[in-house]
Amino acid sequence: MFNTEEIRRKFPILDQQSNGNPLTYLDSGASSQKPETVIEAMNSYYRQYNANVHRGIYQLSEKASAAYENARKKIARFINASTWRELIFTRNTTESINLVAYSWGLTNLKSGDVIITTEMEHHANLVPWQQLAAQTGAKVKYIPITEQGCLDLTKYDAWLSPAVKLVAITQMSNVLGTIPPIKTMIEQAHAVGALVLLDGAQSVPHMPVDVQALGCDFLAFSGHKMLGPTGIGALWGRKDILSQMPPFMTGGDMIKRVTLEGSEWHSLPWKFEAGTPAIAEAIGFGEAVEYLNTLGMANIRQHEIELTTYALECLNQVEGLRIYGPQNPQERGGAISFTMGDIHPHDIAAVLDGEGIAVRAGHHCAMPLHDKLGLSATTRASFYVYNIAEDVDRLVNGLDKARELLTK
């Protein structure tokens, strides 16, 4: 059903040697590879109908405008938005979250208000709230994690009160893989009148996400982690909320009227898209979503559960290896972070690189989480549609080699 051989043919980049070994790409959590169709969709734009969008009254520009707006519709449908007007193009998840912090946050938060987030957040869903708190006098509270790498929800229950204005949580941890019980958490937040922003950077690429079913208020995600190009991301927000928000950046394309005395803003979503957008990138992103639809998000999730099951099994048997995060593949995504004895994660990654295996080593932009774990860094392997059991086997072999070489 999930034909990885066929899938891998769409990613010729995987078919290369790295340091004399076949490339084993296990860093999709940082950025995924792109299928040929995505690359070609952008090439078509650049080679056949490259022009600025929205205002051009000539063929190239009209074609470009239609393709750009059509990509928006595809992506809006992909997360089941109720209208494409709720889908704002940004550079990445980080900008999406900053947009909410600046536009919604600065106008809605005041001293004494509370933002709840978690200890396991990526810096993108943490630092903007710290900054917002510093500017408004609001307070940030961090739901701690348990030994198993799950959220300690007793704290969440205890902290929820009308003072809470925003709950900003990841839908899938990029370090632990943890998938928190988002739906209940959203209901609880709404019960006290708080909005909920989901960091979907890891979830949207790897599992079905339906914003209407979830009932969240904002969802941020990045194209480059879901087979799309760099330079493009999205913020989805509920229309009634977005309509009330002031613009974030201002300039061309986001206005209705400008005079020397002041300006009127354009309607959604353009109010939030100032200047020439990332046109080729939006088109590529739309194509990526199209391809994901072909594969089927439920199938992708299933494929990754299977791969994660196998990987956990194998890795748990590696001498000295310790995995952080839930052990049940149903409760987690396919990003697996670990340490091995006291070998530094940089060195593990470097030895693996010598074997052609690409993994990430470091704090994965989650320093507070690593502080909590008492670590400065971990090594992380992460999977996507093109990964296969053999990749896991190679990883395990590479780890044995690293242990041999670097144990003191």
Partner: protein
């Protein structure tokens, strides 16, 4: 292009129908095209039976917006307000009889928007819904 400026459009553009103002109008609305700054002012005289007796328009605009406004005003006269509500994007595009890009669509629909705002105070929200495709 030759497609765009068909004879029927050029005729309405050169000799627009119902151009001017209506002293005794019952409804009116002025609408800006955010893309080019064009303006159309629509004035309607609706009688006690909720029937549109007279229509007039003024303002500046391109051939497409002038022609579509001229055609729309023709269509409106004699219709009830309820009947006028049925006029939508498709009706206008049919009447123009041309294929139209996304930018010029705003031009073609500017007066329809103005009429809807004038007649039954359509909100921007609702207009978006009429215009939006999925």
């Amino acid at each position: 292009m030759d497609e765009l400026y068909r004879q029927n459009i050029l005729e309405h553009y050169r000799n627009p129908h119902n151009m001017g103002t209506l002293e005794n109008h019952t409804h009116s609305h002025k609408e800006h095209n955010p893309l080019c700054g064009d303006v159309v002012q629509i004035e309607l005289l609706v009688d006690d039976q909720q029937r549109i007796d007279q229509v007039a328009f003024s303002g500046k605009g391109c051939a497409i917006s002038q022609a579509s406004t001229s055609m729309l005003t023709d269509m409106l006269i004699g219709k009830t307000v309820e009947e006028a509500k049925q006029i939508n994007k498709e009706v206008i595009l049919d009447e123009l009889g041309i294929e139209i890009g996304p930018v010029r669509l705003k031009c073609a629909l500017l007066s329809l928007k103005a009429v809807k705002m004038a007649l039954y105070n359509l909100s921007e929200e609702e207009w978006d819904k009429e215009e939006d495709d999925w």
